[in-house]
Symmetry: C2
Subunit: 519 residues, 2 copies
């Protein structure tokens, strides 16, 4: 007997259950692997909605999630969506075997972790392996991420997780050194330092095979911005060729199968807005290990409106990076930077290219150039290329003497873009809205998040030409009617949309003596 | 700027984003509400795979999960599966509005719970409400259940959760008293006490509107067994009519919308094999409150092979039931029972009916009758129907004088079954395999879980006639060759399957001096 209230441990019927059917094709993609089984037939075989089954045909196997239907699939039929049938290479009427996946070994480990028992390396390997084989449901993965958030990961667990994430994907083998890399903890609008730093490092003779991400909720990711100038989607072989030729690249990480397990973890973390420290460290460091980097500079922006509002939490993250990094054979330099204000003057893909091209050719906006050279200098010192204390000057020199810009053009060209692109060629939107100061005063804050939201509402990053041009920064004295910023869009309707949002939030805050009035 | 590594808090664009499209129908059920959007169009509107959107048409709204496709859905089209289009009452070409659901309010509460902050009643109401509206993803629900497991629920949280589960569904209004109910914590094979207890209580003049579950992983649930004799799927109005007429019923809870939120929670708990104590209590007690019960007897089987292997854990659960129950206005009696052995002689839907009919007419199997009368007696005493200490005798008397059997026939008839069914009419399988003792000795254990597994492999509960007939119980002395049990199936292939499983596991363990040998 049993009550639905009681949740019994699942029993592994894998080796006992088996049935076969003929493929019925549905001409539509499901986005994941789904097998539609006849409801009665499945239930007779103790298979239920949401179960995972192994489908096999012609010696090929694929794990799919079960959906049941009494109507569209008859007894003896197995309904497959286009993505699943093409993956299995079967056609209408082909015979397919169905076998229950059974209870993944990970379940016990996840339960133990929930109860506070640290995972050992083989256990972490099991979870990552089963996750990569699609044997774990979203529910199971969410429980794992929640457990890692609530119980934390110790150093051993973090190191093991990093190594497994590396193993789950391809690795770049350059056979050159030194290989360097850079990472930013994020949260600052603009901040396109990668596109200035990469050519500096490459011009200095180091190898920097840089992968970047696209935006999820910000106005633009480095990959979105770089894509305005050149393609960013390459195979790992193409990436290798570009780096061997130019010493650097700026490509989209999502097109390359580096640290593959990380993509799955990020999906869960993002949907829960959960960022377990150990998983964050593993996620970032696995990518550095995957490209063979030895020296890494990490930018941790701190301050009001960033992810790290106090120095203590920024320092604690930095220490964790150094600790885990050293156990993985990485030499890491962490710079905690002032992130209260956007970096550069322009936000949005094409607009940020404008800043980058100006920084490399005309050495402005000053804050973008300065920050890029600080990071580049730290890396030059770390790998012993220049003396301690001389890094910043050396980096700036490589910009001032035009070598960084030459290298930039070389990389853009090698990635298939036009190396001679001018700022006037950039596809910047023509619909514009000007925001002026409503009063006089000193600029107290330019809010990174609000700036990103408005740029996004204006169409960024999808509309490459959309975004924001800032005409003030923290500390500026402005008078009523002075230009604070412009909203740029590719269409009137998107511009309206962004203006409406701007009226609700107020990204540029002026200092004032009276902070509020109570009647 | 942003790295995929950084997981920003999600921004609520609900009030800003909106677009419309024409319905494209897919003639297949998806099992859940899904909207297939054109990939580019959706991304321009910051809508991604897995997001929840509100679809609205003709003033009707429905929350659906987003799938993206570049091929099957063009710009301006919104692909809907059969279940979604029928729910929204739209047809090919109809106009549908799409709006992002926005970040559910529950997310913050779940995060706080993860951080160890107890939930207050309004927060629990928010989560249950959003869950019922399909606004929470499986990932989010899993995180919630994991947090409740890892951080526990205090009494206030448990009481609030129970009340919200009650509110989420219908309630039975009988306007009669006293209304009594019964629950079993599960884990024992056979154990069909409900079908003996319900007619006893009804014969005693009490009201017992009993809902039961179907099996998930056991050989049979009470609803599966009762269904051999009569239909068990009724609306709440039909249930009310049956109980008002006969004082009792034995129906399937799944067909009635009582404690609706519980079904969703059970799905998550089952897939994670997680049973947070507070959620278990809320789940069970919500059903009792929903039928208007005042007096409840709870059977907690303990002992080797059950869910409670020691008395301490069984007692702790009992105390929690009493504590939470009293705060909900329930008067609860908990009996901790010996669950080491299956109850009754037969396991499987039709086979268990055999035991029930025999118990009511011929007062055997003794253990089934005895346990049912113990539980019934406790309930008779609790509600003041008989004096303290006289419950068991009173219950047994109602069986012995035939009144319970008369009541049983009345209920079966009222539910649409044949009240005069005989044990020889039962659809018991004709394929049989006999298991004999391989040695002489005393029976040390008849394992509940293994017995259930074999019965399930033989086809139960889907094949109503499949199961096990036990010919021994714990403590019996058997000689080599004595009959231990029979496996019954409806087909030769299922029988083979069960026999194969039986050879791997060994449900009847004989006592032996040597427990193992180390070479």
């Amino acid at each position: 007997m049993e009550n639905v209230d009681s949740v019994p441990a699942r029993f592994d019927m894998t080796k006992y259950k088996l049935y076969s059917g003929r493929v019925k094709c549905f001409d539509i993609e499901a986005g994941k692997f789904i097998a539609v089984l006849n409801e009665r037939e499945a239930k007779e075989n103790s298979i239920f909605t949401g179960d995972r089954v192994v489908l096999s045909a012609h010696g090929k196997e694929k794990v799919a999630i079960v959906d049941l239907s009494e109507e569209v699939v008859e007894r003896g039929e197995i309904g497959l969506f286009a993505d699943t049938s093409s993956e299995l290479r079967v056609h209408e009427g082909d015979k397919v075997d169905v076998r229950l996946v059974g209870v993944p070994d990970s379940i016990k480990v996840i339960r133990k972790k929930m109860d506070g028992v640290p995972m050992n390396a083989p256990e972490i390997a099991t979870i990552v392996h089963e996750m990569m084989e699609n044997r774990l449901s979203e529910t199971e993965l969410a429980a794992w991420v929640a457990a890692m958030y609530m119980k934390g990961l110790n150093s051993d667990e973090t190191v093991a997780l990093t190594k497994e994430i590396v193993k789950s994907g391809d690795t770049l083998k350059l056979d050159r050194k030194p290989i360097v890399d850079k990472h930013c903890a994020g949260g600052v609008a603009g901040n396109r330092t990668t596109m200035v730093l990469v050519p500096i490092m490459a011009a200095a003779g180091l190898y920097i095979p840089k992968t970047s991400s696209r935006s999820i909720t910000s106005a633009s990711g480095t990959a979105d911005t770089m894509e305005v100038l050149a393609p960013v989607e390459f195979s790992i072989e193409e990436m290798r060729r570009i780096v061997l030729k130019t010493h650097g690249c700026m490509v989209w990480g999502g097109a390359i199968n580096l640290a593959a397990a990380d993509d799955k973890l990020i999906k869960i973390r993002h949907s829960l807005s959960l960022d377990p420290r150990g998983v964050l460290l593993a996620s970032i460091l696995a990518k550095k290990v995957s490209v063979g980097a030895r020296y890494v500079v990490i930018d941790i922006p701190a301050g009001m409106g960033t992810k790290f509002e106090d120095m203590g939490s920024a320092r604690s993250l930095a220490k964790d990076f150094l600790n885990i990094g050293s156990r993985l054979g990485l030499e890491i330099e962490c710079l905690i930077t002032d992130g209260t204000d956007p970096v550069g003057q322009r936000i949005g893909p094409a607009l940020e290219c404008y800043d980058v091209l100006e920084a490399l050719q005309k050495f402005t906006p000053h804050d973008l150039l300065d920050k890029s050279c600080q990071l580049a200098g730290a890396l030059l010192e770390k790998c012993g290329k220049v003396q301690k204390g001389r890094g910043y000057t050396a980096a700036l020199e490589l910009v001032k003497n035009g070598k960084a810009y030459e290298k930039f053009k070389e990389i853009v060209g090698e990635q298939g873009g036009n190396p001679n692109v001018k700022v006037t060629d950039l596809p910047i939107g023509t619909h514009k809205y000007v925001v002026e100061a409503q009063a006089s005063g000193r600029v107290r804050l330019v809010d990174n998040r609000d700036i990103s939201r408005i740029a996004r509402a204006a169409g960024a990053p999808h509309d490459k030409g959309a975004g924001i041009i800032l005409h003030c920064e923290q500390g500026d004295k402005v008078s009523k009617g002075d230009l604070l910023f412009e909203i740029i869009a590719e269409s009137e309707s998107k511009l309206d949309f962004a203006v409406k949002l701007h009226e609700d939030i107020n990204p540029v805050r002026l200092q004032s003596v009276v902070l509020g009035k109570v009647d």
